[in-house]
C-alpha cells in the first residue's frame, strides 16, 4: 500500500505541491515565531552575560516592589557602602553603579534612537575593572559635571562625535553636556538597542537620580582568593542585616536578569504563537479542502482499487500515508521557510534600531521538532475524514461517470448547526448578562463553529443570489461562475471560511480599536479641562518628564496654572485579606492640580488631598468595601509603612483607580517623573502667545511634546494605532494563507473541470470568457468569506466591547474604514487569487477534453 501511496504522491506533483503549500504556509509562521523569540532570548542572555562578565559579586538593596513584567523595582543604597565593601578581605575592586532614565538629543534635535521603543538610559560608566563598556580610541573617562560618554549606536544616530555637545534630559531636568567619549558594549555598538549616556558616578547620581549619596548597586571584583559564593557570603556578613542589602554572585545576578527577560518575553512568545496558531488553523481548512477534493477526484480510481480487491482500509490507509508524506515534506519546508521569516523580522527590527541580533539567528533543536510534529499532526487530522470517505467508496462507483461531492444539506448538518447556534447564543447571553465573562468564550467559539458547520448550507444559495445579478451584466460567464461556486458548496464554504477567520479577527480587532478610540475621545474630552498638554516624546515607558518642569511652566506669565501627573508603584494591603500586592497609583500635586482634571468626585477632591490621603474610584470603593475616612495601609519602596486615609471618591476611573499626593513619596530615593503636564493659560492671553511661550520652555530639551487639548485628545485616541497595525500585520498572514487556499481550490477545480472547460472552448467560449468566469467564481468565494467575516467580526467586537464596559469602554463603534478596507481587499484578493487558475483554465486543451477516454 505504501508503494501505491508514494506513486500517487509522485504522480501528482502539482497536487503534492499545492497541498504541501498549505502545510508550509501554516508551519512557516510557527517556526518563524519560535526562531525569532529564541533568537531574542539568546541575544538578551548574551547581553547579560556580557554585562556581568567582570562581576564576581553584586550588592543591591533588599527593598523592592514586584513588577508584572520584567525586573522588580528596587530601592537605592547609600554610596558609603562602597568603601565598606572594598575593605572586605577578598575584594579586589568595588564600584558604585547608578542607572535610570535619561534621554539624549543632538543640538539639531536628532534622537539617539532610529525609532521610539528601545529604552533610553543614563548611568555611571563604572571603573575599568568592572564595567562592560569599552571606550573607543580618542575617548576619555568622563569627569566633572558636564562630561558624558555615549554608546556608539547613539553617536551614529545623532551624528555626534567626541567634542560635540548634546542635550540630556533626566530626573534632574535638561542640560547640555560635552561628549568626551564613545563606548561599545563588549563588541556591539550598544546593549540590546538601548541608548546610554554614561557619566562619572557623582554626576550620574545628580543627573539620573537627582539625589546625592545614593547608588543602585555595587559591582565587586574578587582578588581570586575566594569562590564567588564565598565572596558574596563574606560581603553579606560584613554589611550586616541593618544595611538592608542583598549580595548576589555574578552568576546569580546574570541568571536573575535572564529569567526576568524570559518572563517578559514569554508574553511576546505567547502572543505571537497565538497568531501562528490562527494561521495554522486557517491553513488546516486548506489542507482539509485539498484532501477532500483530491479524494473526490480520485473516487473513480479508488473504486477501481476496491473493485479489483483492495479493502476499504487499504484505500483509506493509502490516502493517510499520502497525507503523512505531504505533511512531512510540508513541515520540513515550513521549518526552513520559518528561518527565512525570522531572518526577515530580525532584519527589519535591526533596521529600525532594535539591535536584537548580535550573533545571527538562534535555532534550538526543539524548533524543527515542534514544527514538524505540529505540521504532521495537523495534516493527518485534516486527512482523517477525507481518507475515511475514500475508503467508503463503493466499487460500483468505478463504473459511474463524474465524481461530484455529496450534497451539503444533510439533516445532521442542519441539526448540528442549529444546536451549536443555540448553545452559542445561550452562552453569549449568559456572559453578557454579567454572571461571568468567561461564558463569552464558548459563545464566540460557538459562533465560529456554527458558521463553519452551516457554511455549506449558506454557500450555495449565497452564490446563486450573487450570481443572479452577475448573469444580468456578465451574461453566461457570470452565470457559470456562480453555478460553479455553488456546485461544491462544501468546498466553497471551506475556502471562504478560511478567509472568514482572518477577516473576522481583523474586523473584531478594528471594532474594539475604534470603540477604544471613541471611548478615549469621549472620556478625555470630559476629564481633561486644561488648554494644553505636555507629554514625553519617548514612549519607552521608562521615566518621563522631570517634575520640576511643571513648576517652570506655571511660572510663565501667560500661564494660569500647570500641574504634573505621575505614576508610581506601591504595595497596598488588601483591606479584606490584609495581604500586600503591588499596585500602580497615579501621583498628583494637590497644590497645583486645581480643577485641571475633572474626575467626577462625589466626595472630597484632588485639591484637598493631604500628604496622608488617597482618593479611590467608586468601583474600587465598592469592591474593597471602603468609605470616606477609612484607612488604607500601604508600603513604599523604602519599606516605609504608611496608613492612608480615604479622602476622596470619584466616578471617572479611566485614568486610575487610586490617586495619591506627590508628598507621599517625599522620603523615597528613586526619582519621580510626570507622564503628563496639564496647563491652562491666563484669561485674555491669546492662544498663540501662550502656546509659543510654553514651547520656548519645552523645546530646548527636545524631549517634551507640547499639544493643544484637541491635538492631545486626537493623539491619545490614536495611541493604540501602532499596536493595532501590529496585530493587523500578524493577521495578514492568515489572510495570505486564505488567499493561497482560494488559488489551490480553484486550481484543483480547474483541473477537475478540464473536460468541461475544453468543451466550452470547443463550442466557442473565448479564452478571456473562460478567464472571466474563473475570476468571478473566485470573487464570489472571496466576497462570501469577507461578508461572513465582517458579520462575525462586528459581533465579536461587540461582545468584547460589552464585556469591557465596566473597564471604561463606554462607546461601541464599528470602524467603517476597516470594513471598506476589508471589502476592497476581498475583491482584490479574489482577483489576484484567480489570476493563475484563470490562466490555466483558459489554456485547457480542447482535444484532450473531448477525447472519449
Amino acid at each position: 500500500m505504501f508503494r501505491i501511496s508514494l506513486k500517487n504522491v509522485l504522480a501528482r506533483k502539482a497536487r503534492l505541491f499545492l497541498t504541501a503549500f498549505a502545510v508550509i504556509a501554516g508551519t512557516a509562521f510557527l517556526s518563524g515565531v519560535l526562531i525569532f523569540t529564541g533568537t531574542i532570548k539568546q541575544s538578551f542572555d548574551d547581553l547579560f552575560a556580557k554585562a556581568y562578565s567582570k562581576t564576581d559579586a553584586f550588592v543591591r538593596s533588599s527593598n523592592k516592589i514586584e513588577s508584572q513584567f520584567g525586573q522588580a523595582q528596587r530601592d537605592q543604597i547609600p554610596d558609603s557602602l562602597v568603601a565598606a565593601v572594598r575593605s572586605v578581605p577578598g575584594v579586589a575592586e568595588a564600584g558604585g553603579n547608578v542607572s535610570g532614565f535619561a534621554t539624549m538629543t543632538s543640538l539639531t534635535g536628532k534622537s539617539s534612537q532610529k525609532a521610539s521603543g528601545p529604552p533610553e538610559f543614563g548611568g555611571s560608566l563604572g571603573n575599568v575593572a568592572t564595567t562592560p563598556w569599552h571606550l573607543t580610541t580618542g575617548s576619555k573617562q568622563p569627569s566633572g559635571g558636564t562630561e558624558v560618554v555615549i554608546d556608539k549606536s547613539s553617536a551614529k544616530n545623532m551624528g555626534v562625535k567626541v567634542g560635540d555637545q548634546i542635550n540630556i534630559t533626566a530626573a534632574s531636568g535638561s542640560a547640555k553636556y560635552t561628549v568626551v567619549g564613545i563606548a561599545t558594549f563588549g563588541d556591539s555598538d550598544t546593549s540590546g538597542g538601548a541608548a546610554w549616556a554614561l557619566f562619572d558616578l557623582p554626576t550620574a547620581q545628580k543627573v539620573v537620580l537627582n539625589k546625592t549619596g545614593l547608588i543602585d548597586s555595587i559591582v565587586v571584583k574578587g582578588d581570586g582568593s575566594l569562590t564567588d559564593t564565598a565572596l558574596a557570603q563574606k560581603i553579606e556578613t560584613a554589611l550586616g542585616p541593618t544595611s538592608q542589602t542583598q549580595v548576589l554572585t555574578g552568576a546569580q545576578i546574570t541568571d536573575e536578569s535572564k529569567s526576568a527577560i524570559e518572563k517578559s518575553l514569554s508574553f511576546l512568545t505567547l502572543f505571537l504563537t497565538i497568531f501562528a496558531g490562527i494561521s495554522l488553523f486557517v491553513g488546516s481548512f486548506i489542507i482539509y479542502n485539498v484532501f477532500s477534493i483530491s479524494a473526490a477526484q480520485r473516487q473513480k480510481e479508488n473504486a477501481l482499487l476496491r473493485a479489483i480487491g483492495a479493502s476499504s482500509r487499504q484505500v483509506s490507509a493509502s490516502m493517510f500515508i499520502e497525507a503523512l508524506i505531504v505533511g512531512l515534506v510540508g513541515a520540513v519546508i515550513g521549518f526552513a521557510a520559518g528561518i527565512g521569516l525570522a531572518a526577515l523580522i530580525t532584519g527589519i527590527l535591526s533596521a529600525v534600531g532594535f539591535g536584537v541580533t548580535g550573533a545571527g539567528l538562534v535555532i534550538s533543536p526543539s524548533v524543527p521538532v515542534i514544527t514538524i510534529i505540529v505540521g504532521l499532526v495537523v495534516t493527518l487530522v485534516c486527512a482523517i475524514a477525507p481518507a475515511l470517505r475514500s475508503g467508503r467508496v463503493p466499487p460500483l462507483a468505478a463504473m459511474r461517470d463524474v465524481a461530484l461531492e455529496k450534497g451539503a444539506v444533510s439533516r445532521g448538518r442542519v441539526i448540528g448547526g442549529a444546536i451549536v447556534v443555540a448553545i452559542a447564543i445561550a452562552s453569549l447571553i449568559t456572559g453578557l448578562a454579567g454572571s461571568s465573562a468567561i461564558w463569552l468564550v464558548p459563545g464566540v467559539i460557538g459562533i465560529y463553529v456554527a458558521f463553519i458547520v452551516l457554511g455549506p448550507i449558506i454557500a450555495s444559495p449565497t452564490a446563486k443570489i450573487v450570481s443572479a445579478p452577475l448573469r444580468r451584466f456578465r451574461g453566461v460567464t457570470g452565470q457559470i461562475a456562480g453555478q460553479n461556486a455553488a456546485r461544491n458548496p462544501r468546498r466553497t464554504a471551506i475556502t471562504a471560511g478560511a478567509l472568514m477567520i482572518g477577516v473576522s479577527l481583523i474586523i473584531g480587532v478594528a471594532t474594539v480599536g475604534s470603540s477604544v478610540r471613541q471611548s478615549i475621545k469621549d472620556t478625555f474630552g470630559k476629564q481633561f479641562t486644561g488648554d494644553y498638554s505636555i507629554t514625553p516624546v519617548s514612549d519607552s515607558g521608562l521615566g518621563g518628564l522631570p517634575t520640576a518642569l511643571s513648576d517652570q511652566v506655571a511660572a510663565l506669565p501667560e500661564v494660569q496654572s500647570s500641574t504634573g501627573l505621575g505614576a508610581n508603584r506601591i504595595t497596598i494591603d488588601d483591606p479584606k485579606t490584609g495581604k500586600g500586592a503591588a499596585r500602580t497609583v497615579i501621583v498628583v500635586d494637590p497644590k497645583t492640580v486645581g480643577n485641571l482634571y475633572n474626575l467626577g468626585f462625589t466626595q472630597g477632591s484632588l485639591q484637598a488631598l493631604t500628604p496622608d490621603g488617597i482618593a479611590i474610584s467608586s468601583d474600587r470603593a465598592t469592591g474593597d468595601g471602603l468609605k470616606m475616612g477609612d484607612t488604607v495601609n500601604v508600603v513604599l519602596l523604602n519599606q516605609a509603612k504608611v496608613a492612608l486615609k480615604v479622602e476622596g471618591i470619584f466616578t471617572q476611573d479611566t485614568l486610575a483607580n487610586r490617586i495619591v499626593p506627590r508628598d507621599l513619596f517625599k522620603s523615597q530615593n528613586s526619582p519621580l517623573f510626570d507622564f503628563q503636564i496639564v496647563v491652562t493659560k491666563k484669561p485674555g492671553v491669546s492662544d498663540a502667545a501662550a502656546f509659543a511661550a510654553i514651547k520656548k520652555l519645552t523645546d530646548p530639551s527636545q524631549t517634551a511634546k507640547l499639544q493643544t487639548k484637541a491635538q492631545y485628545i486626537a493623539d491619545q485616541s490614536s495611541s493604540i494605532d501602532g499596536f493595532l497595525n501590529f496585530i493587523y500585520a500578524l493577521l495578514g498572514m492568515s489572510i495570505f494563507i486564505a488567499a493561497i487556499g482560494i488559488v489551490i481550490t480553484l486550481l484543483l477545480s480547474v483541473y477537475e473541470r478540464r473536460r468541461e472547460l475544453g468543451l466550452m472552448r470547443a463550442v466557442g467560449t473565448t479564452r478571456s470568457q473562460i478567464r472571466s468566469s474563473i475570476r468571478w467564481e473566485s470573487l464570489i468565494t472571496s466576497v462570501l468569506g469577507a461578508v461572513e467575516g465582517v458579520i462575525i467580526g462586528v459581533l465579536l467586537g461587540w461582545v468584547v466591547v460589552r464585556a469591557l464596559r465596566s473597564q471604561g469602554l463606554s462607546s461601541f463603534s464599528v470602524s467603517t474604514t476597516a470594513v471598506v478596507f476589508v471589502a476592497v481587499m476581498a475583491i482584490l484578493l479574489g482577483l489576484a487569487a484567480a489570476w493563475f487558475p484563470a490562466r490555466r483554465a483558459s489554456r485547457s486543451d480542447i482535444l484532450a477534453a473531448i477525447a472519449t477516454t
Binding site: 463524474v402 451574461g475 456546485r487 468541461e756 468543451l759 466550452m760 470547443a762 473565448t766 480542447i846 482535444l847
Partner: protein, 272 residues
C-alpha cells in the same frame, strides 16, 4: 510532395474535391460548392522513428445541405480530420476551409468566434456543461456571443428534438440519449454553416442511436443543415448522402447513397 511548402490553393476551393493530388479520382464528383473541405491536408504526430502520419495528403470537400459520413478503420485519422476541419486542431501542412474562410488565417480569438457562430459540434460523450440545464446548454453558443438568437428557430429545434418538457433538467438528470439530443439541438440552435459529429451514437443503444440519426437526417432534409459525421457503424453511415473512406490517413474511397450492406461490404475489404 514537400511538407515545408504546402500547395495552398490560390483559387476558390470549389475544385477541391477533384484535386489531382487526391490519391484516387472520385467517381461521382458533385458539382455543388463544398461547405467545407481540406486541401492536401497532412497531420504528423511525433518525429523520427515514432512519427505517425495521422493525415497524409487528404483532399476532400463536403457539400452544403448534405449529410456526409467519414468511415475507416480505427486509427485511420477520422477524428484527426474532423478536428482539423472544425478548427479544433491545426494541420502540419495543407489547408482546411469552411465556406470561403481558410481557418489557418484566423488567430485564436477569431477562430473561437468562428467556431461559435459557424460550427456546431456533437461529440461521442461529455457534450454538455453539467452546471447548465438543457435549455441553457442548447443556447450556450448564442449566450456566449451575447445574442438572444432566433427564438422561433430555437423553439422549432427544441420541438423537433422532442425535449420540450426536459428543458429545465440538468444533464445528470437526463438519459444518455436525451443528452445526445440536447447536444444535437445545441449544434443546430445557432444555425451554423456546418455541424461536425464524432461518433455521436457511439455510446447509445441501437434504438436510441437510430432516433438521433433520424433526427440529424431530418435536420438536413427539413432545415437544410450541413452535417459531417464520423462513424464506425455501417447502419449509421446509411443515413448519410455520401460516405468517404479513410485508411492510414488517406482518402481511399467514397460512396454515394450508401446502404448498410454496401458500407459493410466496403469495410470488410479493409481487413485484407
Amino acid at each position: 510532395m514537400s511538407l515545408v511548402d504546402p500547395p495552398v490553393p490560390q483559387t476558390s476551393p470549389t475544385f477541391a474535391a477533384s484535386s489531382s493530388s487526391s490519391p484516387i479520382a472520385p467517381g461521382n464528383v458533385s458539382t455543388a460548392t463544398p461547405a467545407a473541405g481540406a486541401v492536401d491536408a497532412a497531420k504528423i504526430y511525433g518525429s523520427g522513428d515514432s512519427e505517425v502520419r495521422a493525415l497524409d495528403g487528404v483532399t476532400v470537400g463536403f457539400e452544403a445541405a448534405h449529410f456526409s459520413a467519414i468511415m475507416g478503420p480505427s486509427g485511420s485519422g477520422k477524428s484527426t480530420l474532423m478536428h482539423c476541419l472544425a478548427g479544433l486542431d491545426a494541420l502540419t501542412s495543407g489547408a482546411v476551409y469552411i465556406g470561403d474562410t481558410y481557418l489557418a488565417k484566423l488567430n485564436d480569438r477569431q477562430l473561437t468566434e468562428f467556431r461559435r457562430t459557424e460550427v456546431g459540434f456533437i461529440f461521442q460523450a461529455y457534450n454538455l456543461i453539467p452546471t447548465l440545464n438543457a435549455y441553457e446548454n442548447i443556447t450556450l453558443p448564442l449566450l456566449l456571443g451575447g445574442q438572444k438568437g432566433d427564438q422561433a428557430w430555437i423553439d422549432r429545434v427544441v420541438e423537433t428534438v422532442g425535449l420540450r418538457n426536459r428543458l429545465k433538467h440538468r444533464p445528470s438528470e437526463l438519459s444518455g440519449g436525451q443528452q445526445q439530443r440536447v447536444a444535437v439541438a445545441r449544434a443546430l440552435a445557432s444555425k451554423p454553416r456546418i455541424i461536425f459529429a464524432d461518433e455521436p451514437t457511439g455510446n447509445l443503444d441501437s434504438r436510441t442511436g437510430a432516433e438521433i440519426l433520424d433526427f440529424m437526417r431530418r435536420a438536413v432534409n427539413e432545415l437544410g443543415q450541413t452535417i459531417v459525421m464520423v462513424t464506425h457503424d455501417p447502419q449509421a453511415a446509411s443515413y448519410a448522402d455520401r460516405v468517404v473512406f479513410l485508411a492510414d490517413g488517406k482518402i481511399v474511397d467514397e460512396m454515394q447513397e450508401p446502404t448498410a450492406e454496401s458500407v459493410l461490404d466496403r469495410m470488410k475489404r479493409f481487413g485484407d
